[in-house]
Symmetry: C2
């Protein structure tokens, strides 16, 4: 086993898995239920892992929810903001220290089984909203992961300088199963097409000259 990939069930982590596998990296996937509103993502993650036939561990950390106040994703008192992803209101969707928690657990699993790397799908479009997707954060985590054990592990973030549109293009080339992914923050029956995540997804498919297969099904 070489790499543990964080798999949220969204389109970016789906392309990440496709990308690692296309490079013949022996990969396992980790998904975490930390109390997020959009648990449909986890069903999506299961289907994506099954599609790629990779080992998949889904961890139930709902008990963290009381410690993750102030985010629309984990705190019922905070509504999911509508509007474009680039707007300041989207900062309400930041789950406090989420990526460090997920990476630290992925790192523990990696060390337990002799994997040498962990990977997540942070991208350039995330940088203005999500502090724990920024290259400086990735660099700091790499330093910490070089010291947390007697063996170092590496944090690979292959999309950190790519836009979500470029990730969609890559996924198209790699035939990533976008029809299995879930993005909408509201987690209802179908994508709301209003939240920032839905809008960003639509733009990404637009860049790749694709129709979103989740919406396509309905409009046929």
């Amino acid at each position: 086993m070489q790499t543990i990939a964080l798999l949220s069930g969204g389109m970016d982590s789906c392309v990440l898995l496709a990308y690692l596998i296309a490079q013949h990296k022996d990969t396992a996937a980790l998904s975490v239920h930390y109390g997020q509103r959009h648990v449909r993502e986890l069903d999506a993650a299961r289907k994506i892992a099954a599609h790629f036939a990779v080992e998949h561990h889904v961890l139930d950390l709902v008990c963290l929810r009381p410690l993750l106040k102030g985010s629309s994703q984990t705190d019922d008192a905070v509504c999911v903001p509508e509007g474009h992803y680039a707007e300041d209101t989207m900062k309400l969707t930041v789950v406090p220290n989420r990526n460090m928690i997920l990476l630290s657990i992925a790192g523990a699993w990696a060390l337990s089984r002799g994997a040498t790397a962990i990977s997540y799908a942070a991208h350039a479009g995330d940088h203005t909203i999500y502090p724990d997707c920024r290259p400086a954060f990735v660099a700091a985590m790499n330093r910490a992961f070089g010291l947390c054990d007697w063996k170092a592990i590496r944090v690979d973030v292959p999309f950190q300088f790519m836009s979500k549109g470029e990730i969609a293009c890559l996924g198209k080339k790699l035939q990533a199963p976008f029809e299995l992914t879930w993005t909408c923050y509201k987690g209802q029956e179908r994508p709301c097409e209003q939240c920032g995540a839905c809008q960003e997804r639509a733009e990404a498919f637009g860049c790749a000259g694709m129709r979103d297969p989740l919406l396509g099904k309905e409009s046929r």
Copy 2:
């Protein structure tokens, strides 16, 4: 709220709490059950938090156990090594990436409630066995915690250059309730006095010119 302290229930984290409170720091405590063998520590943590009348959150993360293979503390296939703490066999007690996981969760809680610091009781005696207690690791985590959110939080490790004996001396001065603490890795009815943790505890009390109150009770 200023500081979230990791409280294992051992003597070091008990003195840490005494130390933070003596400095009039508004402190809350976090304890985590990650599947460790010595769950008696968690009862000790509850009693210590009650003694200091601080808010205390105990998180049940036993579901992490299958991901934490290879440590005597979380893997039944690995026996608790006996012998002195300084011996190489004690590396079997390292729980993979434990401190990064615990710190990342403490950091999330700190960010959720506007605390500005997190603290843990790593000390100089830990450095040769536990990589995630070394000053270089602490420095790397401080850098990561400065970037994981739009507000920075600080990792305070006040005992990082002190020996366990010096911590025991400090605890004596601060009247830390050592009788409530639990150290033994085996987690049986009474301390085994054989494991590295028991031996190190005995040496620390020796340095402080104290009798271990847990053993004292029996010998009276």
